[in-house]
C-alpha cells in the first residue's frame, strides 16, 4: 500500500470519528439548541487553531457486550488551540456518543490534556455535557472521575481552569467544575446536580423539575455554583473570550496589557452617581465603570449575593480585580454568601497576580437568626483571611459608609491594604450614628425631658464629630482624602508604584482558612 492509499485510509478513519454519535443523535442535540462538541470548541478558539488529539482512542469497556460497540473518540474531544493568539488546552464531552458518559478511556483523554495544560502552563477549558459515569465500566468510571478531581486540585492556582456546562452534568461529574476557577452556564441547557429529580422522587417522594433543581438560573442565583450566566451558547462563548482577555496564562505571568482607554465619563459621571445621604441606594457598578478603561467591567457571579459586586476591569490597560459593596441590594451588607463570594475571588486574584481594588460603602454585617445559624462567623472570617493573605497590590477606596466590622473586613490598612483613600463623604466609625448615639448617650436620652429631641440632638452631635474620614485620617488609617474624580488617578498611581511589590510571608505548607 502506498502513501496515497494510507492517506485515504486515514481520511476514512477520521470521517468515521468526526461523525460522533451519528446524524440522528446530532439532530437531537440541535433540536434543543445545543451545538455539537466539535462546533463548541471551534466557536471558542481562534479560527482554524484547533488541533485534535486522541481521535482514535478506543473505549475500555469489556463487560455487558460493550466490547462489541464502537464509540468514536470515546465520547470526548480533546486538543489544543489558541485564544487571542495565546495557547490553551480544551476538551468537550460529546453527548451524541453514549450520552457523553465517562468511561476509563474517556477520563484518560481528559486527564492527558489536563496534564498537558499543567506542564505547558496554559489554561484549560472543559466543556461538560455528559450523562455521568458509564455504568457498564463500573469502578473504572469512578477511578476516572477521581483522577480528574485530583488534577483539578493540583492545577488550582497554577493555571486558569474554566468549566463550561453545556448539558447535563450530574452525580460525581459536578465536582470537577466545582474545583475549577470559573463555571459558565446557559439558560435551559445547563443542568447540574448530585442526585437528579428521578432519584429524589423515588427516595424522598419530593417532586421537582430538572430546571428548578439545578438549572442555570438556580446555580447562578441561589447556589452560587455558576459564575457566568448566558441566554445562549453564543453569548456564553463571548463571555469566555472576554474573561480570558482579563486573566494571565499562569500564576507566574501577569495578565496581558491592553492599550489605555479613558472611561466613558459622559455616561458615568463619578461626581453624580452616589447620593450623599448614606441611607440612599445607587448602583456601585456605575462607579466601577466611571473609573475603568472604556467603562468595561466583566462582572462575576452577578446574580448571586448581589449585595457584593466582583469582577474584572482595566485601569490604564492593566487588569484589576474589583470588590465593591453594592448599596443597591440589601444596602450592601456583608453576609454569609457575599463574604464567601468575595473571599474566593480575592484568593483567585492573589493566585494570579491581579491587583485588588476595593470600593467600600457598607453598613456592616446583616443581622438575623438565619445568618447566625448559617455560620456568618465562619463565612465572614473568609473575607478577613483572604484579604490578609493576599500579597498582590491592594488598593482601597472608602466612598461612604464604613461602619464597624465591615470597615475592618473591606481591606482596611489593618489587613494590609497598601493604599487606602477616602472620599470626603466617607464615614468611618465604629457604627452608624443612630446606633452609636443610642448606646453612648443611653442614660442622657432616657432621663431627658424630651427623649426624642435629645436623641436627635445626640445623633447630630455624633454625626458632626465622627461621620467623616478625618478621625481615621488623624490616626493614619487612611492615607489620603481624595475627591471622587481623583479616584482613577489615585488607583492608577498606586498600581504604578506598587508594581515591584514583594511581601515576605512566613514559611508554611499552607494555611487553614475557614472554608
Amino acid at each position: 500500500m502506498g502513501l496515497k492509499h494510507k492517506t485515504a485510509d486515514l481520511k476514512k478513519r477520521m470521517r468515521e470519528a468526526v461523525k460522533g454519535g451519528g446524524l440522528k443523535a446530532i439532530e437531537k442535540q440541535k433540536a434543543i439548541g445545543k451545538k455539537t462538541a466539535r462546533e463548541r470548541i471551534i466557536s471558542i478558539l481562534d479560527p482554524k487553531s484547533f488541533h485534535e488529539y486522541d481521535m482514535f482512542v478506543k473505549h475500555a469497556g469489556k463487560d455487558f457486550d460493550m466490547d462489541k460497540k464502537f464509540l468514536p473518540g470515546d465520547g470526548v474531544i480533546t486538543g489544543t488551540g489558541t485564544m487571542n493568539g495565546h495557547p490553551v488546552c480544551i476538551y468537550a464531552q460529546d453527548f451524541t456518543v453514549a450520552g457523553g458518559s465517562l468511561g476509563w478511556a474517556h477520563a484518560k483523554k481528559i486527564t492527558k490534556i489536563m496534564d498537558h495544560a499543567l506542564k505547558l502552563k496554559i489554561p484549560i477549558i472543559g466543556i461538560n455535557d455528559s450523562g455521568g459515569a458509564r455504568i457498564q465500566e463500573g469502578v473504572n468510571a469512578l477511578a476516572g472521575y477521581g483522577e480528574i478531581f485530583y488534577r483539578n486540585t493540583r492545577a488550582s492556582g497554577v493555571i486558569p481552569q474554566i468549566s463550561v456546562i453545556l448539558g447535563p452534568c450530574a452525580g460525581g461529574a459536578v465536582y470537577s467544575p466545582a474545583l475549577t476557577d470559573f463555571v459558565f452556564v446557559v439558560d435551559k441547557v445547563s443542568k447540574m446536580f448530585i442526585t437528579g429529580p428521578e432519584v429524589i422522587k423515588t427516595v424522598l417522594g419530593e417532586e421537582i423539575s430538572m430546571e428548578e433543581l439545578g438549572g442555570a438560573r438556580v446555580h447562578s442565583e441561589i447556589t452560587g455554583n455558576a459564575h457566568f450566566y448566558a441566554d445562549s451558547e453564543e453569548q456564553c462563548f463571548d463571555q469566555i473570550k472576554q474573561l480570558i482577555s482579563f486573566i494571565p496564562w499562569n500564576n507566574e505571568k501577569k495578565a496581558e496589557s491592553f492599550p489605555k482607554k479613558p472611561p466613558k465619563t459622559r455616561q458615568y459621571n463619578i461626581d453624580t452617581i452616589m447620593p450623599a445621604d448614606p441611607r440612599q441606594p445607587y448602583d456601585v457598578r456605575d462607579v466601577i465603570k466611571s473609573i475603568s478603561d472604556d467603562s468595561e467591567f466583566l462582572e462575576i457571579s452577578e446574580l448571586y449575593a448581589a449585595n457584593i459586586v466582583i469582577g474584572f476591569s482595566r485601569i490604564a490597560g492593566q487588569t484589576v480585580g474589583l470588590v465593591a459593596n453594592q448599596p443597591l441590594v440589601l444596602a450592601g451588607v456583608l453576609d454569609v454568601d457575599s463574604s464567601s463570594k468575595a473571599a474566593r475571588f480575592i484568593r483567585y486574584c492573589d493566585a494570579f497576580n491581579i491587583p485588588i481594588v476595593t470600593l467600600v460603602d457598607l453598613p456592616g454585617y446583616l443581622p438575623g437568626i438565619d445568618q447566625e445559624h448559617a455560620g456568618v462567623i465562619r463565612h465572614g472570617a473568609k473575607l478577613l483571611y483572604a484579604y490578609s493573605e493576599a500579597t498582590v497590590p491592594k488598593i482601597t477606596v472608602i466612598m461612604r459608609k464604613a461602619y464597624g466590622g465591615g470597615y475592618i473586613a473591606m481591606c482596611s490598612h489593618h489587613l494590609r491594604a497598601d493604599f487606602v483613600g477616602a472620599w470626603p463623604t466617607a464615614e468611618i466609625a465604629v457604627m452608624g450614628p443612630e446606633g452609636a448615639a443610642n448606646i453612648i448617650f443611653r442614660n442622657e436620652i432616657k432621663n431627658a425631658e424630651n427623649p426624642d429631641d435629645t436623641r436627635k440632638q445626640k445623633i447630630k452631635e455624633y454625626k458632626d464629630k465622627f461621620a467623616n474620614p478625618y478621625v481615621a485620617a488623624a490616626y493614619g488609617y487612611i492615607d489620603a482624602v481624595i475627591e471622587p474624580k481623583e479616584t482613577r488617578n489615585f488607583i492608577l498611581h498606586a498600581l504604578e508604584v506598587s508594581s515591584l511589590k514583594v511581601e515576605i510571608v512566613p514559611t508554611k505548607k499552607h494555611g487553614v482558612p475557614p472554608f
Binding site: V203, L204, G205, E206, E221, I222, F228, Y229, A230, D231, Q235, D238, Q239, K241, Q242, P278, R279, Q280, P281, D283, L298, E299, E302, L303, A305, A306, N307, P327, L328, V329, L330, A331, G332, V333, D337, P363, G364, L366, P367, G368, I369, D370, H373, Y403, G404, M431, G432, P433, E434, G435, N438
Partner: protein, 114 residues
Amino acid sequence: MAQTKDLKSDTKKPSYKSLLIENIKYRTLLTKKYQQKKPFVRKDVKKVTAFIPGTILNIYVKKNKRVKEGEKLLVLEAMKMRNELTSPIEGTIKDIYIKEGSRVTKGELLVEFI
C-alpha cells in the same frame, strides 16, 4: 462584548424596600434568597418530627400510652438506614399521625405528646 444579564433588566421599576441595620433605615432592593428566608421556629419538644424523609417501618407506641424519656417510639427507614426514634420526654402520647408503611417528608409531624 456580551455582558451577563443586567440586574436592572429584571427589576424594571426598582421596588425599594427598607432594611434596618443598627437603627438606620436603608433604602435598598432585597434578594430573592432574603425574601424567601424562613422565620425561625422554636422546637416544640412535644412534637416528634421526621429529621429525614423516609418510610415508617415499625411503631412501638399507641395513643394515650405513657412513655418514659428515651423509650423507643418508632423506626424511620431512610437512606437504607433504620433509625430508631426515641421519646424526647416522659409523657403521654396525644396522637400518632402516621401508620406503619407511611412515607414521610422531612419535618413531617409523626407523634405528638399531651
